[in-house]
Symmetry: C2
Subunit: 228 residues, 2 copies
Amino acid sequence: MAQAEPLNIVFALFPGVTHLDFTGPHQILCRLPGAKVTVACLDGGEIEADGLIFAHLPRLADVGACDVLIVPGGFGTTQAMAEPAFLAEIRRLAAGARYVCSVCTGSLVLGAAGLLKGRRAACHWAWRDQLSLFGAIPDPERVVRDGHVFTGGGVTAGIDFALTIAAEIAGEAVAQSIQLGVEYAPAPPFNAGRPETAPAEVLERVQRMYGKGMDERLAAAEKAGALL
Amino acid sequence: MAQAEPLNIVFALFPGVTHLDFTGPHQILCRLPGAKVTVACLDGGEIEADGLIFAHLPRLADVGACDVLIVPGGFGTTQAMAEPAFLAEIRRLAAGARYVCSVCTGSLVLGAAGLLKGRRAACHWAWRDQLSLFGAIPDPERVVRDGHVFTGGGVTAGIDFALTIAAEIAGEAVAQSIQLGVEYAPAPPFNAGRPETAPAEVLERVQRMYGKGMDERLAAAEKAGALL
């Protein structure tokens, strides 16, 4: 691979991103042979996420064409869906990419950018229905492929997504080697990771927590969808 | 919880850390009610990890007593085990902590600091045997508890570890709410996450990759173990 062109992978961050949405896939994909991974944001500089500060990020406008574009999610997707300059960069990078991807509510950003019309896509369970505002078809699977568009479900689904796209790009043996390297044989101590399996009071608690953000995001998604 | 003392959680980073070892648990534990999470390193400032730059980190010496100390792993543990100033800070923080924890090869650092004598501990599968050089008992479980010491296996085991300690601290319902929020219902596309389940050629490929680092780390662990 030393002589080959690098495989350019770009993560497009925004304020209010959930960091595990991209750090999970980043840790997988930075181990792909020949990969050059760039983590960028609209204005460059720093992005704070739940107290971690990611620094020295280039501006998205300074990032050239890429092979793989990945948009993570997070509470900030509500604002990202309403940021024309950010959506324009997403559209530009997506236009030249072999694979257009998202994790968690990053698919709402892809939708707001007009990139999911008629396509099946995954999303965090709590916000998945909003995909239909962009002409997308919400899919409850953890990792969804529709043509060159790969989308993952909520937060931790990014690891499953990343291993899936790693196999697509470099073959199963490479993806499995990375999986073994990060000892990805998950053993959750509880079976509460999906609304269908979580105890009722746990589901209610989480839905109550999302309450206000849910209304705001729905309004933002409706507005963005109306512009398409 | 608003009136209570915060729950102080400290992640102790070092150069060459594997970022998912701490970003996974960080994303879980920053959602614990009342938690104040600090990510620090010996000299403060910035730590680069596989191309991500974590900035504005305080110096470990400036971090007061904590309730939960977590040491992640990574290729840099070889150097961290041989850094007396770093090990001294780990010992100081551990002495006052309710819970002393590690993810991946972070348990080798705990061992080198003299904190695992006679204790069962987890570690990344490839390096687990080296725990015995510190008087620890290597345990192949994904998350191991021995008294107030909680250790996780390789990289992604940090998420299972974090949900386990979250339940210990705040109860199962809180841990399950966080699990649902990050949609942790893992579905690995392959069953190659453990040496016992990975295809033989995948295991050989990964072991070959570790080759040189294995010798260097073994030498470092023997030297650190002899000082205990």
